[in-house]
């Protein structure tokens, strides 16, 4: 860097109030703050949404399911053997026997389809749902169920009420035809995960109650495998290994909804690209401000050229000043974006539609990597917009500048 460029840069850095806070920069700064703010807010909210969805999906769903190839129930010996094999694998965090099936839940004239998921209530059984139980007991007990809060709401039920389940037994046909089995349970807890599909349909009960509904003796439908954190993204590959390891009659398949997560991630970057165009529009203000600076400081350009400064040196002096203003505005924009996204999360007059967006609340997450990407992309766009009008300095003739001060 030429010492003259360094002198100006030091002045700008040492006295930003005198050299950088100029009225002529106000619209440029406002444009950058707004556009970067919207970009940052969009990315903060989408990052929050992606993380919330990912956390919910991975917490609520098993990552891999193991069951018999022809969907027969597994007896206790089989379950014990399979669990032993699975738990010996380094990737496996837990292997929980479960039964899941669809049934009709009703209360008076209100009927809703539901997904029953049954677990062993004893220590060592499942407890991943307990952190989502918003009221009542999180402990599974015989004759009691934990119900998704939207399902309870739609059925008009609350804690302590009786929920009725109807399950059509296709293999139990009476002389009067197919007769569904009907069961009653007391609601001991309300489940509120934020994942709409679960909160709208899920009913949790004990393995014994599920076996009673299905008329099966101490059998299990499948084994839910949860992987340790770092292995979750490799669920597909790991399930194939399990498939080979478990041998004939059993199959393992991934159930983590990685496709959905990939779509959400893609949407996030699509939003980022679209919002980058806003920064580009703010770039028009930058071009305008730099052009004004060049015209306002014609005398200075003439002096510098007369004293022997080359056009690249003069361009660099102007670029340094404008870039410092822009970088300050970008940082301000990122702070504004944080404030904006925080306000959006805290507001209480608009809620996500859970049936459309899977989750019904907005989350905010400020990822340092995203902030760096926003800063770098906005800074690159700013540099381009600063350099375009600065080319004009090369064409300015000293003599014209001196004769028309």
């Amino acid at each position: 860097m030429n010492p003259a460029e360094k002198l100006f840069l030091q002045l700008y850095l040492n006295h930003p109030g005198r050299y950088l806070l100029r009225f002529s920069f106000i619209f440029m700064v406002l444009g950058i703050v707004l556009s970067v703010g919207i970009l940052a807010a969009g990315l903060n909210l989408f990052e929050g949404y992606e993380r919330a969805l990912r956390s919910l999906l991975l917490d609520s769903f098993p990552h891999i399911s193991v069951q018999s190839v022809n969907r027969d129930y597994l007896d206790q010996d089989q379950v014990a053997a399979i669990r032993q094999d699975l738990l010996a694998q380094p990737e496996v965090a837990s292997a929980i026997p479960t039964i899941s099936f669809n049934a009709m839940a009703y209360n008076g004239s209100k009927v809703r389809g539901s997904l029953i998921r049954a677990y062993d209530p004893n220590p060592g059984g499942a407890d991943h749902y307990s952190k989502y139980v918003s009221s009542g007991s999180s402990r599974l007990e015989t004759g009691k169920v934990i119900v998704g809060h939207y399902l309870a709401q739609e059925l008009g039920l609350a804690l302590g009420d009786t929920l009725r389940l109807v399950y059509p037994q296709l293999d139990r046909i009476t002389p009067l035809g197919m007769y569904p089995s009907e069961h009653s349970f007391i609601i001991s807890g309300i489940y509120k995960s934020g994942y709409y599909e679960y909160d709208r349909s899920q009913i949790l009960c004990t393995l014994a109650d599920a076996q009673s509904i299905l008329y099966i003796q101490s059998s299990t439908g499948s084994i839910e495998v949860k992987l340790k954190g770092t292995y979750v993204d490799d669920a597909w590959e790991i399930s194939r290994n399990f498939d080979r390891m478990l041998g004939n009659g059993l199959t393992a398949f991934p159930v983590a909804n990685s496709g959905l997560l990939r779509v959400v991630r893609m949407q996030k970057w699509l939003i980022f690209v679209i919002f980058c165009f806003l920064v580009l529009i703010a770039g028009i203000n930058i071009i305008s401000a730099v052009t004004t600076q060049i015209l306002d400081r014609k005398n200075e350009i003439a002096v510098l050229k007369t004293l022997g400064a080359t056009p690249p040196t003069i361009r660099q002096i102007f670029q340094n000043q404008m870039l410092l203003v822009c970088l300050g505005a970008i940082v301000l924009g990122q702070l504004f974006g944080y404030l904006l996204s925080w306000l959006v999360v805290k507001q209480d007059f608009y809620h996500l539609k859970g049936d459309v967006y899977f989750i019904d609340r907005l989350e905010l997450y400020v990822s340092p990597l995203n902030q760096i990407i926003i800063f770098v992309v906005a800074a690159i766009l700013a540099v381009i917009c600063i350099r375009i009008p600065l080319r004009r300095i090369d064409r300015m003739q000293i003599i014209d500048l001196l004769r028309n001060p």
Binding site: N2, P3, A4, T306, L307, I399, L402, P405
Partner: protein, 221 residues
């Protein structure tokens, strides 16, 4: 030794359908230690001549030589020649408003690639020589017209140029400050042997010099 010379210089300006021929075969040679004054009526082409000699503009015809080598305003080395070989003082001083007195004076040395420390030290020496040692940290708008012009002179001298070109240096000053600045040029010429080419339309000030040329009808007399 001839430091600076312009031979058979022609320059015309074109205004719509009118051609104004300001220089017609003007020739000037400036030797080491000269203090050359160019006078003439307003608009006769004095500044044009100075701009051509200072490599700020090119003549339509003719050539400019510095130390015997032909040079042009559009050659790649022109900025470097303007920086190292020539010092400029203008009527409107053209100081950089964002820089204080020291920094303004040091600027040509910094452009030449010298360190800030050495440039500021040399600027302090010159400002002391020109009686501005109390104004080191002042910005141009905090100085009087005479002080601003002395500051411009200090800036012109900092790279120890072969020649200083001054275009109406007292044109914007009251008589008292004009005499003060003019005496300064003579002092620097006498005591340091600094070569000057000064353009003025003030005959009284011009008469104090030994080498006076009048630009009349585009020709130097």
């Amino acid at each position: 030794m001839i430091y600076l010379a312009g031979y058979s210089l022609y320059k015309a300006y074109y205004d719509q359908d009118q051609t104004i021929q300001v220089l017609k075969n003007a020739t000037l040679e400036v030797e080491e230690g000269d203090l050359v004054v160019i006078t003439g009526q307003s608009g006769c082409g004095k500044s044009t001549l100075l701009h051509i000699l200072g490599l700020l503009d090119d003549p339509d015809q003719g050539k400019v030589c510095i130390l015997g080598s032909e040079v042009s305003a559009h050659q790649a080395s022109a900025p470097s020649i303007r920086n190292r070989e020539i010092g400029f003082v203008f009527q409107f001083h053209y100081l950089v408003e964002d820089l204080n007195a020291r920094e303004n004076v040091a600027l040509p040395m910094l452009i030449a690639g010298n360190t800030k420390h050495s440039a500021l030290a040399r600027a302090d020496e010159l400002l002391q020589l020109l009686g501005l040692e109390q104004r080191l940290k002042h910005y141009p708008n905090q100085l009087s017209g005479g002080e601003q012009q002395r500051l411009a002179l200090a800036r012109a001298l900092i790279n120890q140029p072969k020649i200083v070109l001054a275009d109406e240096p007292t044109g914007n000053l009251d008589p008292g400050h004009s005499r003060e600045v003019w005496q300064l040029f003579h002092k620097l010429n006498r005591e340091l042997g600094q070569t000057f080419v000064i353009v003025t339309h003030d005959p009284e000030l011009a008469s104090q010099s030994d080498k006076i040329h009048e630009l009349k009808d585009g020709i130097l007399i």
